[in-house]
């Protein structure tokens, strides 16, 4: 790790001020991606603004037909939250499958979404559920938030405060993990809310999380795994690496989508 200045603000406002003051400063949330990156000297922030001591940034509540989760809420807390398990079990299951138990005890929803790792799990839920990202400055719709690999709509000095998930009628997430990293090789989140069906895919796209129009069209007609029979997803624009070709990823998208639909309907 390179040396950096360390700040532990007590409020979001302080954090934002510090972030504005420190050019090349970075926000430290759970640190489960940022710290390994810094250890390998692949990132060299001049300052870390540590949100772990900031108040009011974590917690889960149901507000009407939305589940609202504070940005510093740990994956483990989302996974085990009675509120989430009851209203949005797909999200609890997704959170319970991120990394491993120790990583889930530290990693946060805000950190995961802000980082927008192309193989992270949360972005698929945010996009499929049409969540709203609430920052210290504004509200951003999921469809506008993710802007390609590791890129988001967040501006300089902008910090995610919470995420609001509309409660769907049916939803589920299925992940096919990379055997080594256990990140998503292909992760598919399906959500049905009224007539609206959204299918978000993580891990597969070379430009980060995306919606599968092919799967969405098939499922909009009838929300059933059989509807995905014969659905072909194009391999163009998908990742190819030593773990999986673009064709294999393309093949896995409807396979995982089917399993997700079955799971969503089983509840």
């Amino acid at each position: 790790m390179y040396a950096f200045n360390y700040h532990a603000p007590k409020t979001v406002r302080q954090a934002a001020t510090l972030l504005a003051k420190n050019e090349d400063g970075k926000v430290l949330a759970g640190g489960q991606t940022l710290l390994p990156t810094m250890k390998q000297r692949l990132a060299s922030p001049s300052a870390l603004i540590d949100l772990n001591h900031a108040e009011g940034m974590s917690g889960i509540e149901q507000k009407g037909r939305n589940i609202v989760i504070g940005a510093m809420t740990r994956h483990a807390d989302v996974a085990t939250s009675a509120v989430v398990k009851n209203a949005l079990p797909a999200l609890a299951a997704l959170a319970g499958g991120i990394g491993d138990p120790a990583v889930r005890n530290r990693g946060t929803i805000g950190g995961s979404i802000a980082n927008n790792d192309p193989a992270a799990d949360y972005p698929s839920a945010v996009l499929a559920l049409g969540a709203t990202i609430v920052t210290n400055k504004r509200k951003i719709a999921a469809d506008d938030f993710f802007q390609g690999m590791f890129a988001t709509a967040l501006e300089e000095g902008e910090i995610i405060v919470k995420v609001s998930f509309p409660i769907p009628s049916k939803a589920a997430y299925e992940k096919f993990p990379n055997p080594a990293s256990r990140y998503a090789l292909v992760g598919v989140f399906v959500a049905k809310k009224g007539a609206d069906v959204r299918v978000a895919v993580t891990g597969a796209g070379s430009n980060g999380v995306f919606r599968s129009k092919e799967c969405e069209a098939a499922l909009a007609a009838r929300f059933n795994a059989k509807s995905l029979d014969g659905v072909k997803v194009s391999a163009s624009g998908l990742n190819a690496d030593m773990h999986a070709s673009a064709d294999y990823r393309a093949h896995l998208i409807p396979v995982m989508a089917k399993r997700a639909v079955d799971k969503a309907l089983a509840k």
Binding site: F176, P179, A180, H243, A244
Partner: protein, 787 residues
Amino acid sequence: MSAKTGVGAPVLRKEDFRFITGKGQYTDDINRQDQAHAYFLRSPHAHATIKKLDISAAKSAPGVLGVLTGDDLAADKIGGLICGWMIHNKDGSPMKAGAHPALAQGKVRYVGDHVAVVIADTYAQAKDAAEKIVVDYQVLPAVVDMNKAKSSAAIHDVAPDNVVYDWHLGDKAATDAAFSKAKHVTKIDLVNNRLIPNAMEPRAAIGDFDAGTGVYTLYTTSQNPHVARLVLSAFVGIAPEHKLRVIAPDVGGGFGSKIFIYAEETVCVWASKKVGRPVKWTADRTEAFLSDAHGRDHISHAELALDDKGKILGLRVQTKANLGAYLSTFSSCVPTYLYAPLLSGQYDIPAIYVEVEGIYTTTAPVDAYRGAGRPEATFLVERIIEKAARETGTDPATFRRKNFIKSFPHQTPVIMAYDTGNYTASLDLALEMADYKNFAKRKKDSAKNGKLRGIGFSAYIEACGIAPSAAVGSLGAGVGLWESAEIRVNPVGTVEVLTGSHSHGQGHETTFAQLVADRLGIDIDSVAVVHGDTDKVQFGMGTYGSRSGAVGMSAIVKAVDKVIAKGKKVAAYALEAAEKDIQFKDGRFSVAGTDKSLAFGEVALQAYIAHKFNGQDLEPGLKEGAFYDPTNFTFPSGVHICEVEIDPDTGTTDIVKWTAVDDFGNVINPMIVEGQVHGGIAQGVGQALLEGAHYNADGQLVTASYMDYTMPRADDLPSFDIGMTNTPCTTNPLGIKGCGEAGAIAAPPAVINAITDAVGHEDVPMPATPYAVWQACQKGARKLAAE
């Protein structure tokens, strides 16, 4: 001696207390007064000449005590790292070994090669300063593909075609004759994938020069501290042996990778005098991936000749073995003498001929990794046997049974003389434990659920108890492979066992104590095992090749016998009887036909007070040493059966049942032996399903962290069903064969034979990742459709 702690009992481990309470002392846990820290600047290129190396800015960076390069090594006349086994080419000429300086001297040959070392007050300062070193590289073409190596840029001047050796074994004419009689020939092309050992404790070293005595001390993660001292003294020239102490404290796993003498420990111990402070280095995991010696990495073609009754007539094999950029300590013998002599497997094969080319590439050195040559041989034999059974429409168990060696001793056509075994007994037990007769029903049930089920066999053999010194000497080894032991009996009757073996997970502190306590009839807690320090143990060859039981414990038995013999002399004086009348049994020396006796501890006291005898007739004290040199290898064998279920939609392979039946000869502690089998299978399954080192065309290691190199995790593996048969080894006093590598040797072909059975064709690579198996399923479906 209580039956609960005797030989054959599953005694709980004595060493566990410190490990489960966090009190182990691994090298990185040790801190020397005023120690400095080393950081190695490594080559980012696979192959380059160093046109200019400017260390001036780094030297003046904060905290820096020294920046050392290959020029400094040369100025101090420090020699290069060596390869300790000379292989001769077919024409009798010696192999081509390029120089291996601990820090680059004008050229780098793989990504991770050592360019310079920075030593500073803190590790962070050393790393910061290393970024200030300016290296002007002239990049040369990477040499990654063994098949193209001969026409690629030369890595070492001594080997312009990048061939280290062109070696063979066996009778070519006899084998050609066997093939000319064949009614059926089975052919197979195989890649034995490259692995990265990944002991959980990364390598580490502390060099500590004492200016007062002129003695260097090296703390290091080694499986064989005496071999390290020998190499660093006699060949590298750090200091003569009496001025160099090597300590290998608790070591967190080795699997072969900590046998070798590496650049980092060499540099740390040398640099400790140059900077006048102890110098510590601990690898991070990526450094481990880049610079630990890798394992396996063969490309082979094999042909098996059968007669009209399905009996094997002959085997011929051509193998290319990747040795990496430099010849590591024992690398040259792994694809030759640890490989080819095992190609007879458990089978009566009249004629075998094998050719091996050792190839230089611009990749990390490749050397022994758990099994070392024997897994590669077993993979080849058991894959071609399985394929031959399928091609001839024979049940794979029946095919094996028909061709098993059934009488012993058996001389194979490739050096080895098997002393004993009962391969049919292991097969029968394995078939029963695996419920083989109901497999077809299980396969049908899987098919109903859209899954493909397969079953795979592996009837392996290994050569362990490495090794008879005269035999290995005649084959090119630079050392003898005996082992030493010393038994020091204290006046109160407690015992220290000094051994040249090294324990880094094997549980020697328990099993060696079990043996000695059993033989001397004393409490196991009265026995302490001492190892891993060249100042304490006179000499030893260390732990690898499943040798610590068969060779290390045999040395202990010899020393114990000498202690008992001396004890009889002492007892004779103390009991005023003739030495020939003294008997030793159950911890007591007694006079035959009388009720006069002394306990072992009482005799020990008599030996040290020496009141009852004249020191000129009998020396006081009770301490005996022994060197044991085996007369043959040992030949553990067994049958493993793997049953898999494959999801053809994703290619995921689930191991639903694992049966292991092993014949290790006599067993000291079955709990520890089973643990060795479990761990070996996990590494073998890792090779078959998960692990593979991957260099891209530029020679960059793509799998340089756990993000891309798949380590077996708990949820990748099943629990294992373990069975044992026993034909005691006839060539060592304990009847022990060795168990440390069996699982890693047996497992890969069992897995691949199961997957190829499930998908219906032979084209399944290792590692059989979901992606690879998905492709194989597609091919299988196309094949089925075409039929």
